[in-house]
Amino acid sequence: MFLLLARLSEAFGPSGDEAEVRQILTEELKGRWDAAYVDSMGNLIASFGRQKPGPRAMIAAHMDEVGLIVDFIDDDGFLRFKKVGGIDDRVLPAARVRVGRHRVPGVIGLKPKHLLKGEEAERVVDSDDLYIDIGARSKAEAEERVRPGDYAVFDTRFQELTGGVVTGKALDDRAGCAIAAALAVEELPLPVDFAFTVQEEIGLRGAKVAAERVKPDFAVVLEATTCADFPDPKARRRSTLLGQGPALTFQDATSIPHRGLLELLVRTAEEEGVRYQWKQTTAGGNDAGSIHLAAGGIPTVSISVPCRYLHTPRALLSLSDMAEALRLVRALLHRVAREGVPSL
């Protein structure tokens, strides 16, 4: 899971351009699935255990990450951009990025501190006033390598900071993808469709059509969620705590989980001795928001890996939380295979 997470984290996959991530997952799983389908939006849906009896599960994890899209190349060859997904303007200065199909390296630089006037030093530069410098002398030179519409993502090397704590970009939600891919190759107790979805970061869009295609009896969303426990672990807005196991959602901005399935999930965790915690905020949302409304309504729950500094060039998570999340989703599938999908 560690090596796959490293590869997935460094892969290029902003919302709307997820092909490289899809390719890695395809290489990982092909030959092992019963069938797989890439739909019109780019969702990868891989079916396992088709002949097995029991309720049909969908496990969803999104492949896309927040990024940038070049909307204009100026006369001096600088790339102007818009944000794709929710990025705090304050994390953009001094970022390194890769742009477009050629993965052209570039940097986002600020005017030197020495030349700031008056209150400039107190102001955050709006992302509309930032630009990517790829080392082009002119518009024409830039256009040889990049064109408007090309995406950019942070250029961040995946790194193990210390034992079991890793940092990298796009851990939201390559962590979920890595857990799902690890689960997919196990012997599963019921038929499962793994949906690696697109365009989550711009409105949970891929999951909607994936769920309509799969029409599962229940769904589990594997996510990376906010973790603001550092430097103040007692903070009211901490959301989750790193290293305390996967977080369960009681409600967020996009869905209220199916009560029966959520109760079963909690009971599973407690009886199997899987460490878990509650996500202590209702902020944010994930693919469950689309999936639970699809195909006439689908019982859906989320299992989330606490992830510090997400939506920045450097997120951080604990591998132990990923391992526990894998244990939990695996145990839930076995429960449902035995007990069926619970009622509301």
Binding site: R90, L110, P231
Partner: protein
């Protein structure tokens, strides 16, 4: 011709890769001194002083008749801006830091850092609160130093065992080539200038030298040009040139405030620069067809030239300035050819420093005292 230029650029890039791979936060330049001891092992003399300056000498290849050869000093600072650990949070082990040198806090969120501890370097990141949990109003303000923290991914106990206040923190910005012969890394202020000085020194070692050439890799420039003040006093050169970086053009800066990337180094002019020394730099550039531009400095140059000029009884001083974008960030950008040109200019200049050329630079005695 194109091949020669590509070779030159590769030589500069390789040297910059090496120079930006070490950390040298002001006052803690030891890793750079170790690297320079290796890079400058061919010097005739090599020493360090109490402030941590590295001083390398090449003896003249010929002595002028009936006198000593002049001594010319090339100064390039080797230190870089960074952070210093001020305290460690009780609950979490988060490191609270303060700037060393002119750090723009707006460059720091979500960046990689290395904390230099007694037990060796520790990787860390500068944390931030996710946009999901912050109000729009918060996101419109840069963080305050009190809010900024470094996360090492370690337990508070481990942090306290390994880190102590006073440990310095360097930024991470590995060297990488961009398009158009450009190069990005951290600390190119002033590794670009240091690279130019080192390349000039290599050239001079292989060629005729009418002067003694002293390369000083100075310390503590970013906290007030301190190393250079001590070095100028000790070296006592007849002429000195500081090689540093200047502000290159970019959106948001007026052309009159900047010099241009790819047009060669700037030869500075202003009160900090000796006019005749400057003329000799320009003459060297013209003879060798080295592209140069002019940088106008109304007062303080913000370089080592400032203290050098007023050391001892006054030292004729000039400045070679390499165009650089995004100064004091981990993504500074230079053009490799500009660094190579600066090296060529510095080497060419040193070869022209002869007693007759610099004779009048130090001042003249006036005749006409009372008889």
């Amino acid at each position: 011709m194109a091949d020669i230029e590509a070779d030159r650029e590769s030589e500069v890039a390789a040297l910059l890769d090496e120079l930006t791979s070490v950390s040298a936060v002001s006052g803690r330049e030891a890793p750079m001194r170790a690297l320079l001891a290796r890079l400058l092992s061919f010097a005739d003399e090599l020493s360090t002083d109490a402030l941590g300056n590295v001083i390398a000498r090449l003896h003249p290849t010929r002595a002028p008749e009936g006198g000593r050869a002049p001594r010319v000093m090339l100064a390039a600072h080797m230190d870089e801006i960074g952070l210093v650990v001020a305290s460690i949070d009780d609950d979490s082990g988060a490191l609270r830091v303060l700037p060393v040198g002119g750090v723009d806090i707006r460059n720091l969120l979500a960046s990689d850092v290395v904390v230099h501890t007694r037990g060796g370097p520790l990787p860390g990141i500068v944390g931030s609160t996710p946009p999901h949990l912050t109000a729009a109003k918060e996101r419109s303000k840069p963080p305050a130093w009190d809010d900024l923290f470094i996360d090492l991914g370690l337990s508070p106990e481990e942090v306290r065992a390994r880190v102590r206040p006073g440990d310095v923190v360097s930024f991470v910005g590995p060297g990488m080539r961009l398009g158009a012969g450009r190069y990005t890394a951290k600390a190119l202020d002033n590794r670009a200038g240091l690279a130019a000085a080192l390349l000039a020194f290599r050239r001079l070692q292989e060629s005729e030298r009418p002067a003694e050439v002293v390369l000083v890799a100075t310390s503590q420039e970013e906290v007030g040009t301190r190393g250079a003040a001590a070095a100028a006093h000790a070296v006592a050169p007849d002429a000195a040139v500081a090689i540093d970086v200047g502000f290159a053009g970019m959106p948001g800066l007026a052309k009159r405030e900047t010099i241009e990337m790819g047009k060669g180094p700037a030869v500075s002019t202003g009160a900090n620069v000796h006019p005749q020394l400057r003329e000799l730099l320009l003459e060297t550039a013209a003879e060798r067809e080295i592209p140069v531009q002019v940088e106008v400095l109304p007062g303080h140059s913000g370089t080592d030239a400032w203290p050098i000029q007023v050391a001892l009884q006054g030292i004729p001083t000039g400045i070679i300035s390499i165009p650089l974008r995004y100064m004091h960030s981990p993504v500074e950008v230079v053009e490799l050819a500009d660094v190579a040109a600066a090296a060529e200019l510095a080497a060419g200049f040193c070869q022209k420093v002869t007693p007759d050329r610099i004779g009048g630079w130090h001042g003249v005695s006036l005749a006409g005292s009372a008889e």
